[in-house]
Symmetry: D2
Amino acid sequence: MSITKPSITPSVTHTSVPAETSVPAVSESRSQADRFLAVRGLTDALTASLSAEDQTPQSMTDASPVKWHRAHVTWFFEEFILRNDPSYVVYDESFRYLFNSYYEAVGARHPRPERGLVTRPGVADVGHYREYVDNAMVDVLERGALDDDVLALVELGCHHEQQHQELLLMDLKHLFSTHAFAPVYVERVADESGTPDPLTWRSVAGGVKEIGAGSGASGPGQFGAGSGASGPGQFGAGSGASGPGQFGAGSGSGFSYDNEGPRHRVFLEDFEIAERAVTNAEWLEFIADDGYRRPEFWLSDGWAHIRETGWQAPGYWQQVDGEWTTFTLSGRRRLVLDEPVLHVSFYEADAYARWAGVRLPTEFEWETAAVTGSSTRGQLLDPARCHPGRAGSTMIGDTWQWTASAYLPYPGFVPANGAVGEYNGKFMSDQHVLRGASAVTPRGHERATYRNFFPASARWAFSGLRLAR
Amino acid sequence: MSITKPSITPSVTHTSVPAETSVPAVSESRSQADRFLAVRGLTDALTASLSAEDQTPQSMTDASPVKWHRAHVTWFFEEFILRNDPSYVVYDESFRYLFNSYYEAVGARHPRPERGLVTRPGVADVGHYREYVDNAMVDVLERGALDDDVLALVELGCHHEQQHQELLLMDLKHLFSTHAFAPVYVERVADESGTPDPLTWRSVAGGVKEIGAGSGASGPGQFGAGSGASGPGQFGAGSGASGPGQFGAGSGSGFSYDNEGPRHRVFLEDFEIAERAVTNAEWLEFIADDGYRRPEFWLSDGWAHIRETGWQAPGYWQQVDGEWTTFTLSGRRRLVLDEPVLHVSFYEADAYARWAGVRLPTEFEWETAAVTGSSTRGQLLDPARCHPGRAGSTMIGDTWQWTASAYLPYPGFVPANGAVGEYNGKFMSDQHVLRGASAVTPRGHERATYRNFFPASARWAFSGLRLAR
Amino acid sequence: MSITKPSITPSVTHTSVPAETSVPAVSESRSQADRFLAVRGLTDALTASLSAEDQTPQSMTDASPVKWHRAHVTWFFEEFILRNDPSYVVYDESFRYLFNSYYEAVGARHPRPERGLVTRPGVADVGHYREYVDNAMVDVLERGALDDDVLALVELGCHHEQQHQELLLMDLKHLFSTHAFAPVYVERVADESGTPDPLTWRSVAGGVKEIGAGSGASGPGQFGAGSGASGPGQFGAGSGASGPGQFGAGSGSGFSYDNEGPRHRVFLEDFEIAERAVTNAEWLEFIADDGYRRPEFWLSDGWAHIRETGWQAPGYWQQVDGEWTTFTLSGRRRLVLDEPVLHVSFYEADAYARWAGVRLPTEFEWETAAVTGSSTRGQLLDPARCHPGRAGSTMIGDTWQWTASAYLPYPGFVPANGAVGEYNGKFMSDQHVLRGASAVTPRGHERATYRNFFPASARWAFSGLRLAR
Amino acid sequence: MSITKPSITPSVTHTSVPAETSVPAVSESRSQADRFLAVRGLTDALTASLSAEDQTPQSMTDASPVKWHRAHVTWFFEEFILRNDPSYVVYDESFRYLFNSYYEAVGARHPRPERGLVTRPGVADVGHYREYVDNAMVDVLERGALDDDVLALVELGCHHEQQHQELLLMDLKHLFSTHAFAPVYVERVADESGTPDPLTWRSVAGGVKEIGAGSGASGPGQFGAGSGASGPGQFGAGSGASGPGQFGAGSGSGFSYDNEGPRHRVFLEDFEIAERAVTNAEWLEFIADDGYRRPEFWLSDGWAHIRETGWQAPGYWQQVDGEWTTFTLSGRRRLVLDEPVLHVSFYEADAYARWAGVRLPTEFEWETAAVTGSSTRGQLLDPARCHPGRAGSTMIGDTWQWTASAYLPYPGFVPANGAVGEYNGKFMSDQHVLRGASAVTPRGHERATYRNFFPASARWAFSGLRLAR
């Protein structure tokens, strides 16, 4: 065994992790075991500074304890890869019950609203569990015995863990926000609030467009990766026909979730899309113009929701001594005016667009714009900096962007067989699609076809908006 | 004034109303006042047999008292047409507060969950209100003084009242279903349960299709009726370019709601759609196969919902002495096996389709099939018969059919100006589209482009499903 | 049969009912049938002016529809008296299910929160039911065939109906109060707001006191009527001297509920009790002194309750144009300053007393004061006047008065056998005792030993307070 | 400073703590500082084996995290004693907000339902806080500078901490019970299930009895300590003879809470009281006789509650493979038949008594029996054994016993001045009194006049019952 597994409990603090090198991009060439360990190592780095107390509670049903995230992503590898190895000895059979998230096919599981009450295993034992599974995974990967279907599940497991890296930061932010004295997770890099650039628009021509991940030329019924052929399997999205100008250009590895396919055609009218996200400065104008008090801007459900909740500003915003502040992973801070607005719900995003006299883009418009135009990449997850960059010419990074689209299956979508088929498909009702990626999305987890989704009222994600017309 | 207004409290009971003649189809030529009075008269006919007690309560927040429906549709004409007439004397200023449904632009209104507590005005006074407004409306219509924009609102008001005719029967059914002793609204026409026809499929070729109401040739940005030009206005959907084989062929009158437009293009793959709706007999097989107990068929929200509610069968179904019965407007009755299943939620429809190995059609597939194929018309509202016909080769009538589509604005959709702009647009989140029409949809209110919508869990509508693949 | 039953639907309106003569006092000598019909007639008189719509809804779970009250009190006689008569033909078997209130021993019953959805039987049919049962009751009473145990149940049924007369007015007041336009049940007798008398105190010497209804000289274990001997049974507590004709037998002390006995001894310290109830004028001082905003006056549960509900004044109070008004059965009106405060909860009464530096009396202190001192009688139910008199030297009448006592069984209390044993006993937890009687308590239903009870947060009863120290 | 403060984080585990010696009884003679440190040390001993994860969550609103308990009792000394010392430097001003429980007079505080979300300070910092306050307290006690009023508050603080020792074990038990795999807090001492003794009754003669803590010969208005005279004030009720050194002054009667006074007279009839508590064996008979399914035994609220919750057995009971088990601080175990039943609500206790044809004693009967008869003392808190002994002839220990009494102020009760006046008085509504003490009540905290109280539905206390008739 030539791979040396890095320590799972790095003695370095998160601020000293060299972000650019610690998170290998998908496109880099390295062995599967390296890739696996790199993803796992980032989870450890992100949580190393958190105490057992910080990792235990669950601040709302939608959120989960940090400790639970760390164990759940580990269970995923144990459940879907290692249990298929007859020589593997399960670490603790009770963990299947405790750390299954929502896979009905796997059996009974701990009630979600009570995840914060599971004091045992403790943080140290979860660390041992991670180490144990890491060793076993490295072992099977090194042996090279896994067939392509299972390797595809390893890849899925890595992306699953990356997804949870973002979720655990969202959940941690929510937990810390309930504390009266605003704990700091990471010190903020000092940068001053500036004046946002003026909003400009990009025109995109309509017509029949190809949407989604998968092999390019899709005739009816054709679904590249889903055919079970070689390649990374159902979750690897085909031949990587990404040309110049496309995100992840030349990556080839081309993983995608099942919900990003099949690649298919849609008809779009001509449209224009904003070159940058809506900023905090612009949102202040909406508030100043009584945006939260004028029903004409709001969907009926949205209006009912803000009356019930009393919302008068985005999530985590609070007026302190007459000035708007927001809670961040660096504590409570003054608003930075030229950053994208964060933590707005779909209702708020939609109302803002109506107030502005325009609309949200559909996810098809968004994707078409993302793959055809050119744009810089925004801030992605850097353990030393958990906040977006200044809103600029970027489609991906800084903030998730609500679209006008409901989260529905693409034509011809069929979930994967077995329990992992529950990964995405069963949530396709009453969720709204967000595109892009945020300042806490791990590098290598972002892509133009990525479909993030949340209910219309959710706003603990790093969610903003981009306008269209 | 040559028009004689019919009595608002017909001495004939609803069973003696000659249904075919009492509800003039939109396509027939007659004066506006006649058309208006015919619609109004049907409401009266439908409610004539109901006591003051029957008309007063509200059995759930989503439902409204019959009395309220009768007053609300009347208020609609008063608010949006008559109040613009300087000579009109408002019947009772308090009714604006009591009978506004959800128009924020009109001002404060009675809380929806308390509609059943409004004992005054009583049923008799609501009758006087109806008569008063009828007289005033006939007067303005006879005078011919209304311009096209206002005439379009009259047309909207008539369709609004037709919509409430269906709603009041849905709500009455729900109210009566809460009664331990199953009251009868209308005696059932005797017809026996038969064996449903075998399910057959129709193939429809894909490509770019035109969807929605409005003038045919839609270039980008073109929105026929919405342009404020002549014709029936925003709610009348343009030039009536309906060709042969289309429902309402040659009608030309062509009313549609704003949410049915603009007419626009979508790209569809080839698909097949079932020739008839799913029947009670088929639903019994789903139940027998433990359909309500196997999570693999259900959306996550749907599974959570049936576990919370304990649903094990469609709405109103109940096992009595080991046999399935359903509550109907003719009391509790044995299931008729070859009728379409009714009162299923979107969650159930979706789970059934997955159990059957197929799926629900999108609303675009449904509409494309409806306007291109040929099919008989099913049962529509007949005051003497409030149940569907035998499930047969019909797209429209008998039962609403859940589609796979979320209720979203069509590209280029802009709500009408003023309060009536709230009619449809503000509900475009977390609702699911149903197409077709049911056995309690008034004749003349059905059309191929009609977009009905309800939340995924709702099942007090006459809602069933049709399969696609 | 020499008795002529009065019409159950008096053509006179309630305002023309001569209150003093229409409600025979218990003490007057008249036949049992007369007594029965007099009680029944008052219910009819109180509800004659109410429409079917007014009588149908239920404005909260604790309240019931007027129609339901009218049918329920009738069912009580049918269930507990007439069904024992083999020759009696039940009016409608379904009514046992619909109009049983809470008697588990009688079997299944309609869910309480859905009483407002029972549209059938209608008001007219309930009227026929009342007439039918009245005739049957008069018949059995005239025949003189009932033994003493059953006659005691007739007496209980009459008091039960009287209790519901007050309840239906409480419930009607609540229903009407939800209406935006303040309906009037009875026109108010004009009388002006005056200045309340200064508060004076009565001293009562302590020692061992006898409390409750029953034969006087109570040795340990002695309990006159409760001993199971002959006589009117548990519900005719009296002196034991009750032979045939006991109800209305001129005893004056007469009837009492089982929860008023056994008569027993308690030890009291010396105390002082206020000569009159707390007035609206005094309550305004409490509000002005921030009584609702200072936690130091409130029980913990009370403080939580007013923060949750936002209460800032007694029930039905509302500031209109800067002036306090209250909703009454005569519509919304300015506060009358020298009337007793009404519609306060136990929490508020207790907080007021603490604010005033004193306390509420125990029910034993209250009763001792009521039977030893002299006081005028306040306003009782007069169909032409549903509001209290000016607060004066009265213990009984005008307003119920919260005491410091929890509603608990007296030593030796044993509920009656059979379903009527559920009348009072099963509510003996988490209720608080009120003493006195209110302006809507029927004459003949008030007495010094009467124990009314409600939860600490309830305030739809006509409930005020009297101070002690 | 001659006192050596013991380590606050004993390296010994709880099982090695010599229970008999570690908890000095109140009656023993030792210095105030020793007494203080002994109480503090027991808290540390009880929690030493619990991880940070175990100490963090809150499993229901009524419960609190172990960590919170440890900090809150410390804050009590800081708030009410040390802050009065001008030289004292507050450990952390934010703790006043975080660890105030319910004292309105102290100011804003962290919302109770979110105590489990306070991850910072962590367990280690709470340990430092405890040490810091201990040192400061020992310092002021050693200096002898505190006047009697403040010394009384120290004594109150010690009893407060003892009360929280029991609460933290109740709360920990609840938390652990939510875990699917039944964690063990302390290994159970092996003892076998036996056959309970037959139930025997003790007769107690009635008459005027003295009840409560305080000086004996109570004329009207006389209330020893409460009269504001010298002595430790309201919280050291005692004989009035308490000079300096009063707490632990060898009086025996010693300390009592304000709610146990004033001592006053009540009149009791003769009664009988059971010699032992109801056992698990007897409760199984109640279950077998359908006790949870027969409404005739239940108070109305209780019946509603068990139908809503589905309760069919006491708290923590569960049938495993057809056999009843219960969750204990030693994990899930078979029922021990001759132990007192635990974790029943007032509703269940009351229903059981009615099923048994008898009743619960009032708190006055209980206290009279406890102070006049002779009885052995049952199991009290022993860190090595957290379960009751075999039900035998004991009034105090093993299990709290629900009484028939509501928790109300004694005649003449006046809460203490200042924030500590909120300690007991403001909970005097809708709570029910329990008497005795349980297997997790610290030694020295039990007494015959002690009034414990919980709502009728609560059952996470170690609550059983004793019968009377």
